[in-house]
């Protein structure tokens, strides 16, 4: 933020807001916190979401679940691809935000943004393949038609990893909504600005309001009411450290949320966000429904066609 001087134009700063139910509210608490770049210089004030904001986000996500899970897989794929298009269109803005957030060089930040766009494209293509790959007919030993179909779990609370600030959050968010879940996304605490700006991309991508809700603030403060919330069906703990993850997983047991535990930050099994994402994040928030029906019989004449 350079000082204004004669002949230069004073920039218009952006007020970063939450993204809940398709709208951009401030935190109901009125609180903000300072977001700084990697060298400690002030970048912006981000909303510091409260328990109430978290609950409002769950209500919005639940409201959106019926429509989003009931949309055709083709339609969801189209919308995820549209998100990729919108993100690509705002590439420069995200490169700047990612570079600021993580202290990356421009080329490295650009590579991350490109990877994030590509990740939306990857998951856009998955929406109408999941049912075939993970479901199917079962050859039961009897006169029954028996079909297993994957279905979305419901409302998923997602704790985004701190870094990579954009690729990490896209990598955890896209698989959740690709299959028809709705999400309450808690942005990485230290570098939330790319997540909040992503809300603007989502809002202009034909994604119904409430399918994704983005909160920023203190992760532990927002995550606790989400983990204990009786109308949240699943919890992705990727952005939690080991102590917080244990506490949240314990709270999540109260209504038997499906829990995806965090991967180690380093060492064996560490998350590699640039690697092929595989399907584990898609299947973590799926239920399998199996439907039986008698096949009946055509009688004696039916056996000979």
């Amino acid at each position: 933020m350079s000082e204004p001087s004669a002949g230069t134009r004073l920039g218009v700063l952006k007020t970063y807001k939450l993204y809940v139910g398709g709208r951009f509210p401030r935190s109901e608490s009125g609180r903000v916190y300072e977001v700084t770049d990697s060298k400690g210089a002030w970048l912006a004030n981000a909303p510091r979401a409260s328990r109430k904001d978290a609950r409002d986000a769950v209500v919005a996500a639940r409201k959106a679940f019926g429509g989003w899970s009931g949309a055709t897989a083709y339609n969801r794929g189209q919308i995820l691809y549209r998100i990729a298009e919108m993100l690509e269109g705002r590439r420069e803005q995200f490169v700047r935000e990612v570079a600021d957030a993580e202290g990356l060089t421009r080329p490295k930040a650009a590579a991350q943004v490109d990877a994030a766009v590509d990740r939306w494209v990857w998951y856009a293509g998955w929406t109408d393949k999941v049912a075939q790959v993970f479901g199917g007919g079962n050859p039961v030993a009897g006169p029954y038609f028996n079909l297993s179909t994957p279905e979305p779990t419901g409302v998923v609370a997602v704790l985004a990893p701190g870094t990579p600030a954009l690729l990490g959050l896209v990598s955890v968010l896209a698989p959740v909504i690709a299959t028809g879940n709705t999400a309450v996304l808690v942005a990485g605490e230290r570098a939330p600005l790319p997540a909040l700006t992503l809300g603007e991309v989502l809002a202009t991508s034909d994604l119904p309001g409430g399918v994704v809700n983005v909160l920023s603030g203190r992760t532990a403060e927002i995550a606790a009411p989400l983990a204990a919330h009786q109308d949240v069906n699943a919890l992705d703990l990727t952005g939690a450290d080991a102590d917080l993850a244990k506490e949240l997983e314990t709270a999540a047991a109260d209504n038997l949320k499906r829990v995806l535990r965090p991967q180690p930050v380093d060492g064996p099994g560490a998350a590699d966000w640039t690697a092929d994402p595989g399907t584990a994040r898609l299947t973590a928030f799926l239920e399998t429904k199996t439907v039986w029906h008698p096949t009946g019989a055509l009688g004696v004449s039916g056996s000979s066609y």
Binding site: G142, S148, K246, A253, N255, G278, K289, W292, H293
Partner: protein, 509 residues
């Protein structure tokens, strides 16, 4: 108590028809049951030789508990003590987990085709000993021999056969080119289908290369101990399967053991939540198969006779002690009277009594505790204003019995419409539109099973699509198959057992 007044044991007409067949249905309701009198047809007990005492099965040997504790297992139909069984404590859990850990490297390194052959052997031996195991299960559990003989045991053998075939084909199962086993699986199973639940747990665990420590329920330990003998006959390497009879404290110790890599539990939702808290923050992979309050939805165009058979099978199979029981009947208002009349007529023909009698439809409740729980919930139903109807049948003088019971005038707020009773008690609610049926069906903390009865195909698909339940039976109920994934939504648990899906719980994916 209106239903548990006791009379002479099995003195009433000892005749029966099989639910599911339409033979000899009497044409009127109420009054004394106008059934044919059948002579008693007991299955012989001599096919099974129950020893006076059993040990724990650890590292290929039967041993006493470290602290020497034992407990008695009784026949719920007669309260006769069947045997005395060693009760595993924390030290025994440690020993068994150690044995399983030592067995793991060699077992997981075996070529899949070799592991498969062990499982095929086990499947075959179970088939050979199936009558013996059926009688044993009926004695220890109280369920009718017709069910153990025709449902439990064939499904047990089929489950081992099915997963045997997967052992050398795991790289084709869709979990990557080289899916790895997890290690030691700690498994805790319930008393309602003792040997079948063992099969659901042990077969996929072994096929994928894990080793097992399994705790059977305290009221039904015997078939698991006989299974240990099956493992010995099959030549299974020592330590691959360990069986630890015991109570809840044994299960808790097993679940909490730091050297267990995988926990699988079937049982109540309350215990499932406790287990989820125990494994929080650990590396242990968890699958839970918990309670249910299945809605059985009958539309006005359903074939009433078939629907009645499905409703009866849905809630009175295994005395209603089934997690996926269709314990809430949702019937379209326009046919409610007709359907209920038919249903009551059918229930008067059910034979309750000696589980070993081949004509028995309704056996004993598994334990005094469970009977007390069912009785208390039924009394709550009455106290809350639901209307109770109990099938007219005499109950034996000893053992634990509960006559088939219906509640009508039930609303969604009633305890009998919300809580899992796990007994032969059906709550009847009505609806007018498909939307209302779906809303009521989904209005539950559970999401394990549901039934849909209608002749209209598009309605089946539309309703099944909207139900939040892991298994939907349309125009049928309570069907099981090893190839068909089973498990719940919501607080009915997570993970699937059966089919390709069932492998995931035991693989590092």
């Amino acid at each position: 108590m209106t239903t548990n007044q006791t009379k002479g044991k099995k003195k009433q007409e000892p005749a029966a028809e099989r639910p599911g067949t339409a033979a000899a249905r009497p044409g009127r309701s109420g009054g004394p049951s106008p059934l044919f009198a059948y002579a008693p047809a007991p299955e012989s007990r001599t096919v099974v030789d129950i020893a006076p005492s059993y040990g724990l099965f650890v590292d290929g040997e039967f041993t006493e508990a470290a602290d020497g504790r034992v407990f008695k297992t009784v026949s719920p139909a007669t309260e006769e003590v069947l045997s005395e069984v060693a009760r595993a404590g924390a030290a025994d859990v440690d020993r068994a987990v150690g044995a399983a850990r030592r067995a793991f490297p060699a077992w997981s390194a075996l070529p899949g085709a070799e592991r498969a052959k062990y499982l095929f052997r086990i499947a075959r031996i179970i088939q050979e000993r199936s009558r013996e195991l059926a009688v044993l299960e009926t004695l220890d559990n109280g369920k009718p021999i017709r069910e153990t003989r025709d449902a439990d045991l064939p499904l047990v053998a089929a489950h081992f056969f099915y997963y045997a075939g997967w052992a050398d084909k795991l790289r084709h199962a869709g979990f990557g080119p080289e899916p790895r086993p997890l290690g030691v699986a700690g498994q805790v199973i319930p008393w309602n289908f003792p040997l079948l639940m063992l099969a659901w747990k042990v077969a996929p665990a072994l096929a994928t290369g894990n080793t097992v420590v399994l705790k059977p329920a305290e009221t039904t330990p015997l078939s698991a101990l006989f299974f240990a003998d099956v493992c010995r006959q099959a030549g299974l390497p020592r330590g691959v399967v360990n069986i630890l009879p015991g109570y809840g404290d044994t299960g808790a110790a097993l679940v909490a053991h730091p050297d267990v890599d995988k926990v699988a539990f079937t049982g109540s939702t309350a215990v499932g939540k406790e287990i989820a808290r125990t494994v929080a923050g650990t590396r242990k992979k968890l699958t839970l198969e918990l309670g249910g309050k299945g809605a059985n939805i009958v539309f006005d165009d359903a074939p009433v006779d078939q629907a009645v058979e499905g409703i009866v099978g849905g809630i009175f199979f295994n005395q209603g002690q089934v997690c996926c029981a269709g314990s809430r009947l949702l019937v379209q208002e326009s046919i409610a009277d007709e359907l209920l009349a038919s249903l009551k007529r059918r229930l008067t023909t059910l034979r309750l009594g000696d589980p070993l009698d081949k004509n028995t439809d309704i056996g004993a409740i598994n334990s005094a505790e469970q009977l007390a729980r069912i009785t208390a919930l039924a009394e709550t139903g009455e106290a809350e204003g639901a209307e109770r109807w109990t099938a007219p049948c005499d109950l034996p003088s000893s053992g634990y019995w509960f006559a088939p019971t219906l509640f009508t005038n039930v609303t969604q707020a009633h305890t009998v419409a919300r809580d899992e009773i796990f007994g032969p008690v059906l709550s009847v609610l009505t609806f007018r539109t498909p939307d209302e049926a779906v809303a009521k069906a989904n209005n539950s903390q559970y999401g394990l099973s549901a039934g849909v009865w209608t002749e209209k195909g598009s309605r089946i698909l539309a309703v099944a699509n909207k139900l939040r339940a892991g298994v939907v039976w349309s125009n049928t109920f309570n069907k099981f198959d090893p190839t068909s994934p089973f498990g719940g939504y919501k607080e009915s648990g997570f993970g699937r057992e059966g089919g390709r899906h069932g492998l995931e719980a035991y693989l590092d994916v």
